[in-house]
């Protein structure tokens, strides 16, 4: 291909589409087929298509106007029951969708039905590697290294490395240092909101609203979520602390009593009452779907199942550890209390967990 001097090599006789074709040719594109869809202008079919496209644009305009009117007129906010508040979102979506659909369909119909048929072929000659160019660029790059003289000057090389390495650490330091938080001081992994509870200084189990719980308030075969009776005890600040307080049927309680010693849980029940950590030992969801008939607790996140009558041992699903049992008792005033924190870590497993 010859080089093109600005404006010098254009045939002055070239007009219209010849110029387009020539321009494409210079870009490595050959327009091999180019034919108008309607060689005879103004046929019935062509006018029909024009009307269709025009109506799509008009539909878009009408829908856009409707959108603005709805946006201004309809009331915002919520009010219970069936009312005009409920219409805002669907109508906005509908009118916005129609607006955009109208524009989109109009443009695509225009392109497909009215644009000339075209087949253009572009060459990929620029994607074939050029050995000479490679040699020249390679030599230039080698020359850069040569100019630096890094090979001949070992002192500079080592000094630069020694000088720049700490800069990299410097860049990482504030990010890592700023975020870093020790999980062991304070030891949040092994303690919950019940930390500090002892026989002499027990912590009450309370409801969501902070009110203490009497054993008889849990129906037989029923359950209740309990939190540590400390300030903010039921808030997400003590996300690990919640317990499921269950009152077993008499024979189930007997079964559990027999099973307690096998897992070191002796003396942690209060009569028929037992309190298990509500936090699943698998992924930390509340394992709170209580199947009263089968005495199972099911975690809805990954379907681990725990058998209440056997120390909440996992019997199905991905969980590997039993739900920790909260040692409970009933205090002098007749309220359920925890006489110790959970004796093992609550929630999902981790590396340092024994």
């Amino acid at each position: 291909m010859s080089t093109h001097e600005p404006g010098a090599d254009l045939d002055p006789g070239m007009t219209g589409f010849d110029l387009v074709r020539e321009g494409a040719r210079r870009d490595g594109v050959e327009i091999v087929h180019y034919a108008p869809k309607f060689p005879v202008p103004g046929t019935r079919r062509e006018r029909r298509i024009e009307r269709t496209i025009a109506s799509m644009f008009l539909l878009a305009g009408a829908a856009a106007t409707a959108f603005v009117v709805i946006y201004i007129v309809l009331p915002v906010g919520y009010s219970p029951g069936y009312n005009s508040h409920k219409w805002m979102t669907p109508l906005l979506g509908l009118t916005l969708g129609l607006t955009l659909l109208g524009i989109g369909m109009a443009i695509i119909t225009w392109q497909k039905k009215l644009f000339p048929d075209e087949i253009a072929v572009q060459s990929r000659h620029d994607q074939i590697p050029n050995e000479a160019e490679r040699t020249l660029t390679g030599a230039t790059m080698l020359n850069m290294v040569e100019e630096l003289g890094i090979k001949r000057r070992p002192l500079l090389r080592r000094a630069a490395l020694a000088g720049l390495a700490p800069v990299g650490i410097l860049a990482a330091a504030p990010i890592i240092g700023g975020l870093l938080k020790d999980p062991h001081h304070p030891d949040i992994l092994f303690h919950t909101g019940f930390a500090g509870a002892t026989k002499d200084n027990p912590i009450r189990l309370v409801r969501d609203d902070g009110s203490p719980i009497r054993p008889e308030e849990v129906s037989v075969g029923g359950q209740m979520t309990a939190y540590p009776g400390i300030p903010d005890g039921s808030s997400v600040k003590y996300a690990d602390s919640s317990a499921l307080l269950i009152r077993l049927r008499a024979d189930d309680a007997l079964t559990l009593q027999v099973n307690l010693h096998s897992r070191g849980n002796e003396g942690r029940m209060a009569g028929d009452l037992v309190a298990y950590s509500k936090i699943c030992t698998h992924a930390g969801c509340p394992a709170s779907l209580y199947e009263q008939q089968t005495n199972r607790l099911l975690c809805p996140c990954h379907q681990s199942q725990f058998l209440i009558t056997n120390n909440a041992e996992p019997i199905f699903g991905p969980a590997t550890r039993k739900l920790p049992m909260l040692p409970i008792s009933v205090d002098d005033e007749g309220y359920v209390v925890a006489v110790s924190d959970y004796t093992e870590p609550v929630g999902p497993g981790f590396w340092e967990r024994p």
Binding site: L100, P183, F350
Partner: protein, 539 residues
């Protein structure tokens, strides 16, 4: 004073001249206008992802104007009466306000969510297209890697967005995320407390996810999309084989006006579909879930669909935990480590390197610009089907509680189905796909040798019946009319070779007179048959 008249007709040309005087853009601009794009429906799947991303940026900016990611506790006083007076985080409070008290806020929020789901779906389907047609082969390995990275960044971006409203579902999702980081060997607890600024949930995680969701991750995604597009322009689009199409050219239409008009129109249609979805189909009704409480969860709590496969893998994982004693202390590798840390690690690395792995096995070092039909590469197609089956088993297992509930099946049975299915079904899919590919290849060759089955039965003079076949090429001196396979669709019905009447135009009545109906089927039979095997494919 006499005013100089402005020649309006000459204005565009004069402006263009002034601009080119300064920037010399005539050549590069024309090169861009004239860039040729090949045309096939499968090439617009990636466009859907791009357009959804634009919608995400637009709607996301609107939402960000009204959203405050603070974990500070406030009492709800908005117009949604069922939650009036409930103590909640400022994040959940503002998310509710966007849904009820900002004009058009809910439609924007729902469009944002739908666009995110569509973004991920389009990425995956686009990856299928690229994988099964071999578009990732040399020289496009780098763009494949960028694409895989975009999938995982979209995944991360979506997860952060899902966690931001601080409703019961997003809090549960975050709780599981913290369990996942906790399970990482050696550094897990440090990573978790560092991310959450202490114990879960703490009060910094929402702010951190917010900055990741609105700045860090979108900026990286935007940068990678730019690289993705730049490489596409530089390397030019792949094309299907066909008449006049070679490894050294691109056959199609020029970018302007034809391709650009189609692309622009298609953007509007994608946008419109998202608007319909956002307005008419409720998604993530956070007001029904309530604020996050660590002790509250409901059944059927599923993540967004593109996270479900990891939820599924977690559900299927047997209760296997490694525990041992070392230096007087016990250590644990929890079961959640394998399906949520190790598996995604494999699912990242394996696809990233797939182009190189395949090239090594096939010893293929040449550049490819022509696509392959899936049937012509049975091994790759079978591997792809195997991967999709693996994914689908995990995906369905992510909703096994809903399946068990709706179809009245035992929940544990669905888990066992997944556990066995994940081992049995992918190899089965491999085998079946491989056989289907070979069968399709064989049929293509049969049609090329014998012609199209016309469905016309003839009886010869000696009483035998045979089906008339229409050969695709003129017979040579020996009476054979055999064609070579060209890597593209072989016509298998008579109307594909123009042997049927042209369709009649018009909806209620014809607007053109149809040409005269042929009186006899236009076939030219060649009755001899021979056995056809699977052809060898060209590389």
């Amino acid at each position: 004073m006499k005013r100089r008249k402005v020649d309006v007709a000459a204005l565009p040309a004069a402006t263009a001249r002034q601009i080119d005087d300064r920037f010399q853009v005539a050549t590069p601009l024309r090169r861009m206008f004239n860039k040729v794009f090949p045309d096939h429906w499968s090439f617009l799947l990636g466009e859907i992802a791009l357009y959804s991303f634009i919608v995400l940026l637009l709607t996301g900016t609107f939402i960000a104007l009204f959203f405050d990611p603070s974990a500070k506790e406030v009492e709800y006083s908005g117009s949604y009466t069922p939650l009036k007076g409930v103590v909640m985080s400022q994040a959940y409070n503002t998310a509710l306000n966007i849904s009820f008290d900002v004009r058009g806020g809910l439609v924007m929020r729902q469009m944002h969510h739908w666009a995110a789901l569509l973004f991920m779906a389009a990425i995956i389907v686009h990856m299928f297209r690229v994988f099964f047609t071999g578009a990732f082969r040399k020289p496009r390995e780098a763009n494949w890697i960028v694409g895989v990275s975009l999938f995982w960044l979209g995944f991360l971006e979506g997860f952060c967005g899902y966690g931001l409203p601080d409703d019961a579902l997003s809090g549960t999702g975050l709780r599981i995320a913290s369990a996942i980081t906790l399970s990482i060997p050696v550094v897990g607890t440090w990573v978790t407390t560092s991310l959450f600024g202490g114990e879960f949930p703490g009060d910094v995680i929402l702010d951190r996810m917010y900055i990741a969701h609105v700045l860090l991750v979108p900026a990286i995604i935007l940068g990678l999309i730019t690289v993705h597009m730049a490489l596409l322009v530089k390397q030019k689009h792949t094309q299907w084989p066909g008449p006049g199409r070679t490894n050294h050219n691109v056959v199609g239409v020029r970018m302007f006006p034809g391709f650009a008009a189609k692309g622009g129109g298609f953007f509007m249609i994608v946008f419109s579909v998202i608007a319909f979805l956002g307005g008419l189909f409720q998604i993530n009704p956070i007001w029904l879930f309530g604020p996050y409480k660590a002790s509250v969860v409901s059944a059927a709590s599923q993540p967004d669909w593109y996270v479900m496969f990891l939820d599924g893998s977690t559900r299927l994982m047997p209760a296997w935990e490694l525990r041992w004693h070392m230096f007087g202390h016990g250590y644990t590798l929890p079961p959640i480590l394998w399906p949520t840390v190790v598996l995604p690690g494999i699912l990242t690395v394996l696809p990233l390197f797939y182009p190189f792995i395949e090239a090594r096995f096939t010893r293929d070092k040449t550049a490819h610009h022509l696509l392959q039909r899936p049937r012509d590469v049975p091994t790759r197609s079978a591997l792809g089907a195997m991967a999709i089956t693996f994914y689908m088993v995990l995906f369905l297992s992510g909703g096994n509680d809903v399946i068990a509930d709706k179809f009245n099946i035992s929940l544990n049975a669905t888990t066992w189905f997944g556990r066995i299915g994940i081992l049995v079904l992918p190899p089965l899919a491999y085998y079946v796909t491989h056989r289907i590919c070979l069968g399709l290849q064989q049929h293509d060759r049969e049609v090329l040798v014998h012609g199209i089955e016309t469905g016309i039965l003839r009886r010869s003079v000696d009483g035998r019946f045979y089906e008339v076949h229409q050969p695709l090429a003129a017979a040579d001196d020996h009476g054979h009319a055999e064609l070579d396979y060209a890597g593209w669709v072989v016509p298998k019905k008579m109307n594909r070779v123009g042997a049927l009447m042209p369709s009649v135009r018009g909806f209620f009545r014809p607007i053109e007179q149809p040409p005269g109906q042929p009186t006899e089927a236009p076939v030219s039979p060649a009755p001899d048959r021979e056995e056809i095997g699977t052809g060898t494919r060209q590389r």
